[in-house]
C-alpha cells in the first residue's frame, strides 16, 4: 500500500511540476536524447514482465525479442514461420500438427537449435511442477514428439483449430534451462535465446537493456542498442519522453494529445481487441434477469464513453470481437435506445419505485458493481455505466477493491472487467462464454450457460474450415446479443508516441495486455533509420 500511495504522490507532484514548468519556461523539447543515433532506441513501457523465462509464461503471445517461437505474427496478424521452416502440416482430423524446423539457427551462445529444445520447452511448461499460470492455453496437447532432429509433431487430445496460434510461444534452450530449477533458476532473469536481441541487463523496476544479436537468423537488426525503461506512472513517462530521455512511450489519450503539434514525434494508434465490459452474474436475481440485461445493453451510451473517457481513441463494443474485425457478426451492433430500454423494463414488470429505482415483486433493481482499485480507466467506465443505468431506473452501486476483495463477491456482484486477445476468436469467447468454465477462476465470471453457445463454441474449435468457424461465432455473438450476460462497453485503442528517427513504423492488432511485446516496437528488429 505504501508503494502505491507513494506512486500516487509522485504522480501528483509530477503533474503539479509539469503545470508549473509549462507556464514558467518554454517546452524543453530536444534535450538529452536528441543526439542519439538511429541505432539506439530507448522506449518507455508501463508493465514489467515478472520473468524472462518462456517456461514461466514470458512472451507466450510472441514478440519476445530474446526468443523466437516456431511461428510468428506479421503486421496483419497472419502466421509466418520463424523457427519452423514452414507452416505446420495438419493431419489425423486436426489432431496432429507437424512442424519442419529451420536449419542453421543457433542460440546466442552458439549452440545449435534442435527439435530437442522444442520438446523440452513444451514438456516443461506442461509439467505440474512448473509454476506457469498460462499453461491451460496448451491444454489441447497430448504429447510433443521429436520425429527427427529437424521435425516436431504435436499430438492433440481433440481437434483444436486455433492450435497453430499457440505455437508463437518462445523456445527455450534445453542445454541451459534444462540444467537448473525451472521456477527460480538464473535462466528466469538471464535468458539465452535465438531471437533478434540478447539481454545485457535487467535492473528490476527500472529497465531492460538489449543488444542486437549479430548471429540472428533473420539478419542483424539495424537498431543495435535497445532499452525498455519501466515507468509505471503515465505522467512521469510523458515527462521523460518530453525531455528526450525516452524515444518512445505508451501513453493514455489525454497525454498523447499533448505531443501532437510539430514536436518531431509521431503518434501511432494501435487497433486492439482490448475490451471493457460489465459482468452480469446469473445467480443474482437482478443481473440474471434477461429484461434487465437487455435494457442495460440498450441504455448504455457507448459513443459517449468513447468520446468522454477515451477522447475518441476507441470504438463502441458489442461483444468480445471488435466491429472492424473479420470475425465480427454483422448486424449485432446495438445502438443507444433509451426508449426501448424503458419499454423492455416496463413490459417485464419492473415498475418505477418511489426513489427513481425500479422494483418488481418487492425487489429493487439494484446491484453492486466492482472495479479494480487504482485503475482509472475502469473506474471511469464503471461510473459512466452506473450513471446510464440510473437513468433507466436501475441502480449499480459502484465499489472498488483489489482482485482479492472482488473475487469472493463475483458470484452475485457485477464486475467491470477487461480482456481481449486478437489471435483467434476462440481465445476470448470460449473462456468468457462456455458453461464448463462458469466461475472457474476469473473465466466466465457471469456464469453464462447457453447450450447452443456451448455447442457452437466446441464446433468452432474443432474444424479448421474458416467459413464454418465464422458461422459458429456469428451464432454465438447473436445469442449473446439476445441475452447479454456481459454488457460490452468499449474497445480501447493503445496510443504510442515515437521520435521521428525511424520510418515505416507499424503496430499490430493488440491484446488487452500490452507490455514489452506490443506497440511500434513489436518488430524493432526491422526498424529502418529515416535516412
Amino acid at each position: 500500500m505504501t508503494a502505491r500511495s507513494i506512486r500516487g504522490a509522485v504522480a501528483a507532484a509530477t503533474a503539479a511540476t509539469m503545470a508549473l514548468a509549462a507556464t514558467a519556461c518554454a517546452a524543453p523539447g530536444g534535450g538529452r536524447g536528441a543526439g542519439r543515433a538511429a541505432d539506439t532506441a530507448v522506449v518507455g513501457i508501463a508493465h514489467e514482465p515478472e520473468t524472462l523465462s518462456p517456461l514461466l509464461g514470458y512472451g507466450k503471445d510472441g514478440n519476445s525479442k530474446i526468443f523466437d517461437g516456431l511461428l510468428t505474427h506479421d503486421a496483419g496478424m497472419t502466421l509466418r514461420p520463424a523457427l519452423a521452416a514452414a507452416l505446420p502440416k495438419v493431419t489425423d482430423g486436426g489432431t496432429t500438427y507437424t512442424y519442419p524446423l529451420r536449419r542453421g539457427v543457433t542460440f546466442s551462445d552458439g549452440t545449435p537449435f534442435t527439435a530437442d529444445d522444442v520438446v523440452f520447452t513444451y514438456d516443461t511448461i506442461l509439467d505440474a511442477k512448473t509454476d506457469n499460470a498460462s499453461k491451460a492455453e496448451l491444454d489441447a496437447i497430448e504429447k510433443v514428439e521429436k520425429k527427427d532432429d529437424r521435425t516436431v509433431a504435436f499430438h492433440l487430445k481433440y481437434p483444436y483449430a486455433p492450435f497453430a496460434e499457440r505455437t508463437v510461444l518462445p523456445i527455450a534452450p534445453r542445454h541451459i534451462a534444462g540444467r537448473q530449477d525451472v521456477n527460480t533458476g538464473s535462466f528466469t532473469t538471464r535468458p539465452i535465446g535465438t531471437g533478434p536481441y540478447v539481454l545485457t541487463g535487467w535492473s528490476k523496476g527500472e529497465k531492460l537493456t538489449f543488444t542486437a544479436n549479430p548471429r540472428y537468423w533473420g539478419g542483424a537488426p539495424k537498431v543495435k542498442h535497445l532499452t525498455m525503461a519501466i515507468v509505471k506512472d503515465d505522467d512521469i513517462r510523458a515527462t521523460r519522453l518530453r525531455s528526450g530521455d525516452l524515444d518512445g512511450a505508451v501513453l493514455p489519450p489525454d497525454l498523447a494529445a499533448t505531443f501532437k503539434a510539430g514536436s518531431g514525434r509521431k503518434t501511432l494508434a494501435a487497433r486492439t481487441y482490448d475490451y471493457r465490459n460489465v459482468t452480469l452474474p446469473g445467480a443474482n436475481p437482478v443481473t440474471g434477469d434477461r429484461a434487465v440485461r437487455r435494457a442495460l445493453d440498450l441504455a448504455v451510451d457507448r459513443r459517449a464513453m468513447v468520446e468522454g473517457i477515451l477522447s475518441g481513441a476507441g470504438k463502441p463494443a458489442y461483444g468480445p470481437v471488435p466491429t472492424d474485425s473479420p470475425w465480427f457478426a454483422k448486424g449485432t451492433e446495438r445502438p443507444y435506445d433509451f426508449a426501448k430500454a424503458q419499454r423492455i423494463l416496463d413490459d417485464a414488470g419492473w415498475k418505477q419505485g418511489g426513489d427513481g429505482i425500479r422494483e418488481k415483486d418487492g425487489r429493487r433493481a439494484s446491484f453492486t458493481l466492482w472495479y479494480l482499485s487504482g485503475d482509472k480507466l475502469r473506474q471511469e467506465h464503471a461510473l459512466a455505466f452506473a450513471s446510464d443505468a440510473k437513468k433507466a431506473g436501475i441502480e449499480a452501486r459502484v465499489e472498488s477493491g483489489t482482485w482479492e476483495a472482488i473475487e469472493p463477491n463475483m458470484k452475485q456482484d457485477a464486475v467491470l472487467a477487461g480482456g481481449g486477445s486478437p489471435a483467434d476468436p476462440d481465445f476470448d469467447q470460449y473462456l468468457l462464454l462456455h458453461s464448463s468454465l462458469a466461475g472457474d477462476g476469473f473465466n466466465n465470471m457471469s456464469r453464462y450457460a447457453d447450450p447452443t453457445v456451448d455447442e457452437q463454441l466446441v464446433a468452432a474449435r474443432r474444424t479448421d474450415d474458416r467459413g464454418a468457424r465464422k458461422a459458429a461465432y456469428d451464432t454465438v455473438q447473436r445469442r449473446l446479443a439476445d441475452d447479454p450476460a456481459y454488457i460490452f462497453l468499449t474497445h480501447v485503442d493503445h496510443l504510442y508516441v515515437v521520435a521521428g528517427r525511424w520510418q515505416g513504423l507499424t503496430t499490430q492488432v493488440e491484446p488487452h495486455d500490452h507490455g514489452l511485446a506490443s506497440g511500434p516496437w513489436w518488430n524493432v528488429e526491422d526498424w529502418q533509420p529515416a535516412t
Binding site: T2, A3, I6, A9, V10, A13, T14, T17, A21, P28, G33, R36, T40, V42, E50, T51, S53, G57, A128, K129, D131, A133, S134, K135, A136, D139, D181, N183, T184, S186, T188, T189, T200, G201, S203, K204, G205, E206, K207, T209, T211, H225, T227, A229, T239, R240, D245, T402, W403, E404, A405, E407, L431, L437, D440, G441, F442, N443, H512, D513
Partner: protein, 347 residues
C-alpha cells in the same frame, strides 16, 4: 549529561580518553550475551512476520500469476497454490523455512522467481552504499552544525539551525525525496531523478553511479540530520558550561582547543548512543527513499515480498533488519562503554 568525569579521563596522564588497550574480554562477553538474547528475538520476529503476512488480504497465487491469473483455469491456479506451498498451514511453513535457513538454505522467492540469497545478494550492496553515504554525511554535518549552534546558544545561527532541524524532523523522507526530484532533476535539471544508471546506457560506471546516488543519499542524510544536530548541540552546549571547560579557559587555552578537545569530546558521548538507536529509522527511511528514486536496493524487494506474500523473502529481509538494529545497539553500547568506563560492559 552533566558531571562527566573529565578529571578521570585526564588523570591517566596526557589527553588520552581511552584506556591504553580496550578491555577485549568484557567486550566479547557482552557481545556473546547479546547474541544469545538475539535468538529468541529473531524467532519471535520471523514467526510474527509469517503470521501477519498470512493474515494479510493479499493472495500469493494471484500475486504470482499476475494478469495471466485472470485467464488461468482453476485447476492451474490450484496447482500453483500447491507448488508455492500456499495451501499449507502457517506453523509448518515457518518451521520449514526455519530449518532450511539454519542449514544455509534461505529458500526461493516466488515473487521474484529467484533464490532468496541471490535476490538479497544483488541488492544489499546498493542499499548499504546508500545508507553508509547518508549516515556518514548525517554524522559529519550533524556534528559540525551542532557544534556551531552550541558555541553561541540563543544566537542567530543557533536559532536558525534549531528551527530548521525541527522542521526537517517533521518532514517525512518521501516528501523530501519528491521535493529533491522536483528541484534537482526537473527545475534545475542537473541530477538524474532516479535509477542507478542513465536510461540509455547499459554499463554502470562509477561516475554515473555517483551522480545517481547523490540525490537519494542527500535526502536520506537530511532526514536523519536533525537528531544529530540537536543531540550534538545539547551535549556540547552543556559541556561548555562545565567545570573542566571553565578550568581549561582559566588556564588560558585557546577557545578552539577548549571547544574541540574538551567540550566536543564529552559532548559527543550521547551521539554514540544515537548511532545505534538511529539504525531502525535509517532502514525505514532508506525504504521510502529507495522507492521514490527507483534505487535498486532491498526496498523494491521488500514491497514485492509484502504484497506478494512471499514468506521466504519477507522473513529473510526482516531477519536482516532486526539483526541490523541489534548490531547497531550493541555497537553503540560497546562504544559508550569504551568512552565512559563507568558504564562498563554489563548490559
Amino acid at each position: 549529561m552533566t558531571g562527566l568525569p573529565h578529571s578521570r579521563f585526564r588523570s591517566r596522564g596526557g589527553t588520552a580518553v581511552l584506556p591504553a588497550s580496550p578491555p577485549w574480554g568484557p567486550m566479547a562477553r557482552m557481545a556473546a550475551r547479546r547474541a544469545l538474547l538475539a535468538v529468541p528475538v529473531l524467532l519471535a520476529v520471523t514467526l510474527g512476520v509469517f503470521a501477519i503476512a498470512a493474515a494479510s488480504p493479499f493472495d500469493p497465487v494471484q500475486a504470482y500469476a499476475g494478469t495471466a491469473g485472470l485467464t488461468a483455469s482453476q485447476e492451474n491456479l490450484d496447482q500453483l497454490r500447491h507448488n508455492l506451498g500456499a495451501d499449507r498451514p502457517l506453523p509448518a511453513r515457518w518451521w520449514d523455512w526455519l530449518t532450511g535457513a539454519l542449514t544455509g538454505d534461505l529458500g526461493d522467492s516466488a515473487s521474484l522467481r529467484a533464490p532468496v540469497s541471490q535476490v538479497i545478494g544483488e541488492r544489499i550492496g546498493w542499499s548499504v552504499l546508500l545508507c553508509a553515504l547518508a549516515f556518514a554525511f548525517a554524522v559529519l554535518a550533524g556534528t559540525l552544525l551542532g557544534v556551531l549552534a552550541a558555541r553561541r546558544r540563543g544566537g542567530l545561527l543557533d536559532r536558525a539551525v534549531t528551527a530548521a532541524a525541527y522542521t526537517l524532523e517533521a518532514a517525512p523522507p518521501f516528501w523530501l525525496g519528491l521535493l529533491a526530484v522536483w528541484l534537482g532533476a526537473i527545475e534545475l535539471g542537473v541530477l538524474p531523478p532516479g535509477g542507478l544508471t542513465d536510461t540509455g546506457s547499459d554499463v554502470a560506471t562509477a561516475g554515473q553511479i555517483t551522480r545517481h546516488a547523490l540525490l537519494p543519499a542527500l535526502v536520506l542524510a537530511v532526514s536523519q540530520l536533525p537528531w544529530f544536530v540537536l543531540y550534538v548541540r545539547q551535549g556540547v552546549g552543556d559541556a561548555l558550561d562545565e567545570d573542566p571547560v571553565r578550568g581549561a579557559r582559566a588556564r588560558g587555552l585557546r577557545e578552539r582547543t577548549v571547544l574541540l578537545r574538551h567540550a566536543l569530546r564529552s559532548g559527543l558521548l550521547p551521539v554514540l548512543t544515537l548511532i545505534g538507536s538511529r539504525v531502525p529509522e535509517l532502514i525505514t527511511g532508506a525504504l521510502l527513499v529507495e522507492t521514490v528514486f527507483s534505487w535498486p536496493g532491498i526496498a523494491a524487494a521488500t514491497v514485492q515480498a509484502a504484497t506478494g506474500v512471499d514468506f521466504p523473502l519477507l522473513a529473510a529481509l526482516t531477519v536482516l533488519a532486526t539483526a541490523a538494529v541489534l548490531v547497531g545497539n550493541l555497537l553503540s553500547d560497546l562504544l559508550y562503554g569504551l568512552a565512559d568506563p563507568r558504564v562498563g560492559f554489563d548490559g
